[in-house]
């Protein structure tokens, strides 16, 4: 498939935004149960939510470039019963609204408990809004990744690993940003968020490796024989019906050499996993600096872009069988 930058930015940016929100809410839950000694402070929740909203808005903005007729985008909400794309279009703004509500409640300081259960569990409005937003964030992860995982013809995508990896990558990069924000606000939570970022990044490494291995072993369900219905072991295409190019040759091929594709894969394996972890380690053990954390996130985000590019490049559409020879 042709890697479109609009979609690469959309999926990676909203992933960061979603992960960042999950990081904020995780911290709040930890505080609630008394497992976290430092209080992140209400300002942290506000800034964090705003930053998450910025990432989501940037993603939404870049998605517009993928549409031929963005002015009709409002129509996309109509087929949520059958289309994952439609569901994503509904889930994305809803997620943004619930996160904005979460930020607003923190800004208004509505953190007095509504009900208190036992000694240390108290339910306040931000907690309710945060729970709703968390549900929305996970629904959005599912909707976004199912757009790809639901296309059964693209066998490389048609696996639960796609959903798992989109989610893990979002969480890993989001916690990374949370660590960065915590370092900037000096609230002593760098190692908390950093620690979770390490866990998520490691899990993502396993998930992505599994997908790479699976796709390496994958055999195409269709062949040129089934595509044109000629039962002969040797079939070659002599002409695809035109001399130039067409939508079919542009949309479904990446037009890059196998060497470039391999280089991108090796690049993302390096930028996405070991490098950010290395850059993150000093901050976990007490040293570290804002610059190092920024570099860690920068490396991971670049890696994410490369990973998403490769995600498209490695996907093989059966229609490509019909477009193999230009003459």
């Amino acid at each position: 498939m042709h890697p479109a930058f609009s979609v690469i930015f959309l999926t990676t940016l909203i992933g960061v935004g979603q992960g960042l929100f999950l990081a904020l809410f995780t911290a709040q839950l930890y505080r609630l149960t008394g497992l976290l000694e430092h209080d992140p402070g209400t300002l942290f929740y506000q800034y964090g939510s705003l930053l998450a909203l910025c990432f989501l808005a940037l993603g939404l903005f870049s998605s517009v470039f993928h549409l031929g007729r963005p002015e009709r985008a409002w129509r996309t909400a109509s087929r949520w019963r059958s289309s994952w794309l439609s569901r994503e279009v509904i889930a994305l703004p809803l997620t943004m609204v619930t996160i904005a509500l979460y930020a607003l409640l923190h800004y208004l300081g509505l953190t007095q408990p509504l009900i208190t259960i036992g000694e240390d569990f108290s339910l306040d409005p931000t907690l309710i809004a945060g729970t709703v937003a968390t549900v929305m964030v996970f629904s959005l992860f599912i909707c976004t990744s199912m757009i790809y995982a639901a296309v059964r013809f693209i066998q490389q995508w048609h696996t639960p690993l796609t959903v798992l990896n989109f989610t893990l990558f979002g969480i890993a990069s989001g916690f990374m940003v949370a660590a960065l924000l915590a370092a900037w606000m000096e609230n002593g939570l760098v190692s908390f968020f950093g620690g979770w970022a390490v866990v998520a990044t490691t899990l993502a490494l396993f998930g992505r490796s599994a997908a790479l291995y699976r796709n390496h072993k994958l055999r195409g369900k269709s062949s040129l024989q089934s595509a044109i219905g000629v039962r002969h072991t040797i079939v070659t295409q002599k002409a695809m019906g035109f001399v130039g190019d067409s939508f079919n040759t542009r949309e479904f091929f990446h037009h890059r050499s196998p060497r470039t594709v391999t280089a991108v894969r090796n690049g993302f394996l390096l930028l996405l996993f070991p490098l950010p972890l290395l850059l993150l380690t000093p901050s976990l053990v007490g040293g570290g600096s804002l610059e190092l954390l920024l570099a860690a996130f920068g490396s991971q985000y670049l890696g994410l872009l490369a990973e998403r590019w490769y995600f498209f490049a490695e996907a093989k559409h059966p229609q490509n069988l019909y477009y193999q020879t230009r003459s």
Partner: protein, 240 residues
């Protein structure tokens, strides 16, 4: 239920592209048009087509055979391209099974093209919406036209009658009989899309010509016999 579709005889198709040009001509000037082109008379021409004719060769030299393969939307009975459309622009007509795109609703997200295993949909770069074969819906449903012309442009244009058109659900239609009696098959059956369009396979044609059919051994009809003239006096014999 009716399922209109094409049956394409690969044994007959000569790869002349008459269906491609007639399709473009009819549809670019009609309801589905324009089907825009980019650099049509220049280097790297490209454009929107509903129908393409491809050429394949099978076997290895010298035992090869060429097959010309016209390719367009197959109007699947279980069209995977329809449910994925977020706007409802892609739909399958209840009354005749034709799969269509509403160009006024399409947002050009291209998701439907990913969900078609055959690459039958093409995005129009000028109009910025998705397009595909309509089975000339504006022709076949035009009751002003004489019955014999209510067929897709490609079917009417084909000089070898390699393209048949009709209802594949009607067991007595020309297309159903052809599928049944000449081994009609669908493309990529492994995906369960259940295409309406079918293809008729290449067949070995063996001519049995006997020696005596090549060499004239006698003249059974006596055609070239010199007819003896004994019809009495001619006008030349008449003495003046």
């Amino acid at each position: 239920m009716t399922q209109l579709a094409l049956v394409i005889d690969l044994n007959v198709c000569v790869g002349c592209h008459a269906c491609v040009t007639s399709c473009k001509e009819w549809n670019t000037s009609g309801w589905a048009g324009p089907m825009s082109d980019h650099n049509p008379y220049d280097a790297d021409p490209s454009g929107t087509f509903f129908n393409r004719v491809q050429t394949y060769e099978f076997g290895s030299y010298p035992n090869t055979e060429t097959v010309h393969f016209p390719k367009s939307c197959l109007h699947c009975e279980e069209p995977p391209c329809v449910p994925v459309c977020p706007t409802g622009a892609s739909y399958k007509r209840e009354d005749n099974g034709v799969v269509l795109v509403d160009y006024d609703k399409c947002i050009g997200c291209k998701y439907c093209s990913w969900a078609c295993p055959y690459g039958a949909r093409e995005f129009d770069e000028k109009q910025r919406v998705m397009k595909k074969c309509t089975l000339c819906i504006d022709r076949i449903s035009d009751t002003q036209l004489p019955e014999s012309e209510r067929k897709p442009a490609c079917v009417l244009a084909c000089p070898t009658s390699a393209r048949l058109f009709g209802d594949v659900h009607d067991p007595d239609s020309e297309v159903s009989v052809a599928i049944r009696e000449q081994g009609g098959y669908p493309l990529m059956p492994e995906w369960g899309t259940n295409p309406g369009n079918h293809y008729l396979p290449r067949r070995k044609i063996r001519l049995h010509i006997h020696e005596d059919e090549l060499v004239r051994v006698n003249n059974p009809l006596q055609k070239e016999e010199i007819v003896p003239i004994d019809s009495g006096d001619t006008i030349d014999d008449v003495a003046w």
